[in-house]
């Protein structure tokens, strides 16, 4: 059967061997090349790939610190952290996101707003990060989700600590609130510091003391698989909780004030005369700060923002009102000190005051027809609130002198209270009018200013500060909300000033007059002296309304009510060694003695009840 010759066979065999050898060499060369590649990967660049494989699997996760708690001076909680449960989704772990969302929507209530907010968050999250879909799940939602978890791959319920304000609306304007970090804030915050939290202080104490409250973020190194599921914890650095704040605020005082004022548009500030600590800060109407913590709904927010009563507006700090007669004691002090009047100086009040060259007279608002009559001295002018006395005095007092002295009492400038947003009001002088209105100062402007009307505007906080400075014979103390940080007390900030140069006799004279406002039968606030078992000093005020809200014009029926006078009252007690100073303004409340004075008395009564056995509670 062998068709080939032996020679052919040998030749073809040789050729075959040659080809096999060539192939063998070729194969060995290729193998060497590939092994060179493996050597390069496994030996030369080994370290790079070790790093890369570790980066693949080892992830650093932030561990949220607990936000510092906020207490009142008695150790009552004003802001704490509650466990809440959020529904979160890891995009990479879900095979079909739309189906997952639809499935979740069929189990629990998920609004379109939830979904659109979720998609926004989804766009700015890191790969494999939890993205929140719905906050604050109810017990029922959680159990429904737990039962169905097997078919909700990618979705999970995660526990979080969420800010909670147990006193709700009562402290909203002082404590403020936290909110979810928005895009704008995202670009300015330290991303590492905020990696464990999605909240940030927005307003009030929460904003001003953000750096103390937030704490230090912790971290944990975890090993994850390719789908992002955590396989084990490798190491952990515990977070440092935020510092706890103790405020000067007294819940009892706040409660009394808030309950009395809840249905008014009003602001009350009570100051500890000696330390400058704010004992109560109420602005009504208020709002529930808890609504802002997890993101407030659009409707809810619109209702708050569009309300004619402006609940979000912090009147205590930002409301600017004509101070009215409440500045009369201060003006008296300035006049005595500058020797413009003496204690013995008297005028006769016919009920009207005429200025040379002005045909229209100034009326005395606090007198029946015929005026306060003859022999009105400074004390009587304060006790009975005689406008004509101050009108007359103003002709002798240069506005620039009046203005610069008033600024020492806190008007026209910041009080430097430790929450953001305070307004400075207006303490007018020649320079101011020229600058702002481009007009020269008239003597008539000074007449208006002498009863706290005209251009002059002040915040309730400024009125309270003024009252405290009068009460302490001119000591200037910066108003403060925070009393202690992590139990460590903050020293009151005293400033040196010219006020302390004022003669003690002048202080005593004004203090006596202010006591008589309440304790003398002729005093404008004599009604509140009934049953008073301590000495209180005060001054009523009634401010003609210059509307502070342009929106009011649209509502005719409300317009009527809102043209009523504002009711003001300032007071301090006990009169011989003052501890507390209070200022209150009730918008459109009428005469100061009618609404404001009785409420201030309630607050001071509450203070006097506890002040004798007060103990410092520091947390």
């Amino acid at each position: 059967m062998i068709t080939n010759t032996f020679v052919d066979f040998e030749a073809s065999r040789k050729l075959f061997v040659k080809r096999v050898v060539i192939s063998g060499i070729f194969v060995l060369i290729l193998l060497s090349l590939i092994m060179a590649r493996y050597y390069d990967l496994q030996v030369t660049r080994h370290q790079d790939f070790v790093t890369q494989s570790d980066n693949n699997r080892v992830h650093v996760r932030p561990v949220s610190p607990t936000r510092g708690l906020i207490y009142d001076r008695n150790g009552k909680l004003l802001a704490d952290n509650r466990s809440t449960y959020n529904l979160t989704i890891v995009r990479e772990r879900s095979e079909d996101l739309d189906k997952l969302l639809a499935d979740l929507g069929s189990l629990i209530d998920i609004s379109e707003n939830d979904i659109s907010e979720f998609k926004k968050r989804l766009n700015r999250r890191k790969p494999f990060a939890n993205t929140a879909l719905k906050f604050d799940l109810t017990e029922q939602d959680r159990s429904i989700l737990a039962v169905n978890s097997f078919r909700l791959e990618g979705a999970e319920v995660s526990a979080h600590l969420t800010r909670h304000y147990p006193k709700e609306a009562m402290f909203a304007h002082a404590v403020g609130y936290v909110g979810r970090i928005n895009e704008q804030e995202m670009s300015i915050i330290d991303p590492v510091r905020y990696s464990g939290t999605d909240s940030i202080g927005r307003i009030g104490i929460e904003k001003e003391y953000e750096n103390h409250l937030i704490g230090q973020v912790g971290s944990e190194h975890v090993e994850t698989n390719a789908r992002g599921r955590v396989m084990r914890l490798m190491s952990k650095k515990d977070p440092q909780p935020g510092q706890n704040l103790t405020l000067h605020l007294d819940s009892n005082l706040q409660q009394v004030a808030y309950n009395a004022l809840e249905n008014y548009r009003s602001a009350l500030i009570a100051i500890d005369v000696k330390s400058g600590g704010i004992l109560a800060m109420v602005s009504t109407p208020s709002y529930n700060p808890n609504a802002f913590v997890s993101g407030i709904g659009k409707k809810h927010y619109a209702a708050l923002i569009n309300s004619a009563d402006r609940p979000l507006f912090n009147r205590a700090l930002r409301g600017q009102y004509p101070p009215g007669s409440t500045i009369k004691p201060m003006l008296g002090l300035i006049a005595l000190n500058e020797e413009i009047v003496t204690a013995e100086h008297t005028i006769s009040d016919s009920g009207y005051f005429y200025l040379d060259g002005v045909s229209r007279p100034w009326r005395d608002h606090n007198a029946k027809k015929g005026g306060h009559g003859a022999d009105v001295n400074l004390a009587r002018a304060i006790v009975e609130s005689c406008d004509v006395y101050f009108y007359t005095m103003s002709t002798e007092m240069d506005i620039d002198l009046l203005s610069s002295n008033s600024k020492l009492f806190g008007f026209g400038g910041k009080t430097n209270i430790d929450i953001p947003g305070e307004q400075i009001g207006i303490m007018p002088d020649r320079h101011w009018k020229k600058n702002e209105l481009g007009e020269a100062w008239f003597d008539g402007d000074t007449v208006n200013a002498s009863i706290g009307q005209g251009f002059m505007l002040a915040t309730p906080l400024q009125l309270a500060v003024m009252t405290a400075r009068i009460a302490s014979n001119g000591k200037i103390v910066t108003p403060r909300l925070v009393k202690a940080i992590n139990g460590e007390g903050i020293e009151p900030n005293h400033e040196n000033s010219d006020l302390t140069d004022i003669d003690t006799l002048h202080w005593d004279y004004i203090h006596k007059a202010m006591q008589d406002v309440i304790h003398s039968p002729k005093g404008t606030a004599n009604k509140i002296s009934t049953g008073l078992n301590y000495r209180m000093a005060g001054k009523t005020g009634t401010a003609q309304v210059v509307s502070i809200d342009a929106d009011d014009e649209y509502d005719k029926t409300k317009m009527q009510e809102r043209q009523w006078d504002h009711s003001l009252f300032i007071a301090f007690a006990p009169a011989d060694d003052p501890e507390i100073a209070v200022a209150l303004i009730v918008e459109n409340g009428g005469h100061g003695s009618v609404i404001a004075a009785p409420i201030v008395r309630l607050v001071i009564d509450e203070f006097m009840k506890t002040s004798t056995n007060e103990s410092l509670v520091l947390r």
Partner: protein
Amino acid sequence: MHESDFVRRIQSLGDRSDEKNVLELDYFLIAILLSLCSVGILIIYSATGQDTFFVKRQLLFIAFGFTLMCIMANLSPRVWDRWALFLYAIGIVSLGMVLAFGVEANGAKRWLNLGFTRLQPSELMKVAVPLMISSYISKSSVPPTFKTILVSIMLILLPVLLVINQPDLGTALLIFISGLIVLFLSGIGRSYIISGFILALAAIPSLWLFVMRDYQKQRVLTMFNPEQDKLGAGWNIIQSTTAIGSGGWYGKGWMNGTQSQLNFLPESHTDFIIAVLAEEFGLVGVMVLNCLYLILVGRCISISMNSESMFGRLLAASIGLTLFVFVLVNLAMVSGVLPVVGAPLPFISYGGTAIVTLFGGFGILMCISNESKTNRSSN
């Protein structure tokens, strides 16, 4: 003497006790093959996250393949010479059936569902084509004439085109190469080789334009710059090179490879299994594996050299070399030197058809080995 001996052997199929008491087996070859399979089992166990499902199935395939090899080893090479065309025809028909009723997975039809298991006919062709070409050329003149070469190329191109249509360019190229190896070994003239090489170069642009699908082009482009598409096409290559590179000299230890255990590595028990081995056993492990393959190829070539018939010689050498080309292509692909194509690592990767086909190939190899031994002893 050849003739009568062959005839007798064919006639005495299954009744060999008159000659020897034991099966005629190449125990050296068996030792190497079983070593490779054991390595495969170890790595599959680790790569599947200690899941015994794949290990059990692979053991089943190995047992079946091994039995098949033992039976085939005891047939005469003559049988294979005669059955070559028949096997080739079965292969072609089943490839046609794949195109008609194949099971689709990942956008390609590669499998035939046989009810109890899935068959991948293209894997079958990796052995059937060298067998067919060896048989055809050895029957005509050696070195082959132009006509023989032309027919051979047609025989190679027919299954290649069918596989390209699945589409599975990688396997098609491997089948093509397995056929060309036989042609090269048969001693075709240098001028044919050079002109063939030029023709191949010229064909590349039209291959790119008309044959290759977008995803295939993407894979080629990805190879050159995997970072460009980190989470898409580049993911496989980045993860496999990371696995290999982080293994270092000695590896992270069996079942300790983070890339494979944490599922960063794709296809870790099939095409990318070498990355698991490289990660867990290091460069040393890769070198040991390559030594096993080299010994295997060496053994194939030694069998080939000892074979008396042209058919046996061609087939033995081409099976060995083809196997090594598969190994090289796989190692190159996983380490990012070649584009990602469907090329399993012989005897190591999980996969039934490949294992059974490989054992079948070595069964034929063993019977060539037996033939030369018998011839020598009877001489």
